[in-house]
């Protein structure tokens, strides 16, 4: 029976080429947009180079400081000293790395000159633990060590693009680069880190102890320019670490209580962090479920509109086949059998649209990756995106096929036979 359905489905697709093309375009274009969105989300939120342990990594990225009696607040990264005091020693934590904030690196690039050319780079100052949490791919050399950081050595890890910009095809190891008036010896070259990996992104990484004002590292003020990356011992420890950090925030000794005497925020995944900014004015709570619900609602809304259009196209298409339905009913097809037939047709059409959509998505992602709009981004359809794509295609097929099929299957055979 299935081969009969498929045979007739292909015949109908070929006979009604315009309809087929419109349907395939609607399905594939919608899927391309959704799958590009999913691929970008996956690139931002999923575990990816070099943050491959994202499932047990938390960030303390932004905190909100305020005063209980004054209408005064500050939402910003915090100081190195604050993080060193209140995050570094949290229980159940395997490692904590503190580094200058990646957004700062993006917003305020440092400028170097090489052979008369200006090179702009994102600079990140980190402690030595930073490289122990990340799984960076070293193309040359190695990371600087905790010892290098403690002794304030002027060493740097640079990415492949920076190595290329400064040294072309030659090895960068042992070479010196000048950044913002400081000279650093290159000890390692890593594969480019995408700009969307907000915890780790930079072009150049140097020890935090090379900061010009070394004393500033001891300040514990809340507005600052640093963030902490926490690697939990296990995924199960994540909730406990969050609680411990929430408790730590209640024990903060404010260096200048006249200015700020309250602080709110949390140890979050990136997704939680975004939900905290979106749904909590005082940053006291994260609402990842709400953010997820908003995203799902947007996706559903985005898919429902073209699906409704497809339903309408399908209704008129199926009505044109009333005579066939009448014949099939006359010879023993039950209504449910006919619904099955039309759903199979729609699922087939949707899967074809899905396959085309996946092909176009790959092209769009390739173009996006190579457009340099997002530095070093490498978007791919991975297995998760592929499964989402197929599920979306199936959703289209079933949603757009069931209603018209059900409507048609309710016709009496004689009524169906009468229609031309």
């Amino acid at each position: 029976m299935l081969s009969n359905y498929l045979k007739i489905a292909f015949k109908v697709f070929l006979r009604r080429k315009i309809f087929t093309l419109i349907s395939l375009f609607a399905i594939s274009a919608t899927l391309v947009m959704l799958m590009v969105g999913v691929a970008i989300s996956d690139h931002i939120f999923g575990p990816a180079y070099p943050e491959t342990r994202a499932d047990r990594t938390l960030m303390v990225s932004m905190l909100k400081a305020s005063h209980s009696d004054a209408n005064r607040n500050s939402m910003s990264p915090t100081s190195y000293g604050f993080l060193d005091r209140y995050v570094r020693n949290l229980p159940h934590v395997e490692k904590v790395a503190i580094s200058s904030h990646s957004l700062m690196a993006l917003i305020q690039p440092v400028i170097s000159f090489h052979d008369g050319a200006q090179i702009k780079s994102a600079l990140k100052r980190t402690d030595g633990v930073f490289w122990e949490i990340l799984e960076a791919e070293f193309l040359e050399g190695q990371p600087y060590s905790i010892d290098d950081v403690e002794h304030g050595r002027y060493v740097a890890v640079i990415n492949e693009a920076t190595s290329q910009a400064f040294f072309g095809q030659s090895s960068a190891l042992g070479e010196t680069i000048e950044i913002a008036g400081q000279r650093f010896r290159v000890v390692g070259v890593v594969a480019n880190v995408p700009a969307f990996r907000l915890a780790s992104f930079a072009d150049i990484w140097v020890p935090v102890t090379t900061v010009p004002d070394l004393k500033a590292l001891n300040y514990t003020s809340i507005p600052g320019a640093y963030e902490a990356m926490i690697l939990a011992e296990s995924v199960a420890d994540i909730p406990r670490i969050k609680e411990e950090f929430a408790y730590a925030l209640t024990q903060v000794e404010f260096p200048n209580p006249e200015r700020f005497n309250q602080v709110a925020g949390g140890a979050d995944t990136l997704f939680e962090s975004i939900s905290r900014f979106m749904f909590s004015d005082d940053l006291s709570e994260s609402h990842p479920q709400r953010l997820l619900a908003v995203m799902i609602a947007l996706v559903v809304l985005f898919m429902v509109l073209p699906a409704i259009s497809l339903v309408n196209i399908n209704v008129s298409r199926i009505m044109e086949r009333a005579s066939e339905i009448g014949v099939r009913k006359s010879f023993g097809a039950a209504s449910t059998t006919l619904i099955g037939q039309f759903v199979v047709e729609n699922v087939l059409l949707s899967l074809m649209g899905g396959i085309i959509g996946i092909g176009f998505t790959e092209v769009v992602l390739y173009l996006l990756s190579n457009s340099y709009l997002i530095p070093y981004a490498e978007f791919h359809i991975n297995y998760r995106v592929f499964v989402y794509g197929l599920l979306m295609a199936m959703f289209f097929g079933v949603f757009a096929g069931v209603y018209p099929a059900w409507k048609m299957s309710r016709l009496h055979p004689v009524e169906a036979l009468r229609r031309k």
Partner: protein
Amino acid sequence: MIKLENIEKLYRTDTMETVALGNVNLEVEDGEFISIMGPSGSGKSTLLNIMGLLDVPSGGTVSLNGNPIESYRDRHLARVRNEQLGFIFQSFHLISDLSVVDNVEIPLLYRSGVSGSERRKMALEALDRVGLSSRVKHFPSQLSGGQQQRVAIARAIVGKPRILLADEPTGNLDSAMGDEIMGILHELHSEGTTIVMVTHDARMAEMTERIVRVFDGQLVAAQEVQYA
């Protein structure tokens, strides 16, 4: 075999009600070959459709083999149509996207326990029966009217139904082709198939055993025919 009691069929719109059939009583015996005659719009096709369970009456009872079918649900009705009834339509109603043999296989698609190879074998036998063995891979548009009607007959008989319902099977054919189709129907009747045929062609009707005449939705006469 088929019994209609006090059958009514009304068509209603917002402003008017049309009586297509009123108080029709008719019984078709097992193995009969009857024709239903009447002018256009008299209700003969409606009557045939109700007998074939393709349409539902507004009132009255349809019984098949002594069982009233009102209580049958969609799936049960579909099974009865599939196993006991075969239809031949005036305009053939072949599916243009399917080949001749695929069209003939349709009733068997909905019959459980028939494998693909059995289906194909039975369809080829039915086509052989109507003399179309050489056209199995053709599409309906590649056949003449008479050939299309023979395909429709093959489709109607492939599942070996006990009752064949034919709605003006020769209506779109010339007289030679019509005679050929009637010949096939007679052969099927001689093998025990019950046939009910709607026609407005008196010559064709006289080739059946009994003529039922319908006028303005009423049965006006039934006439036994001696067909030699």
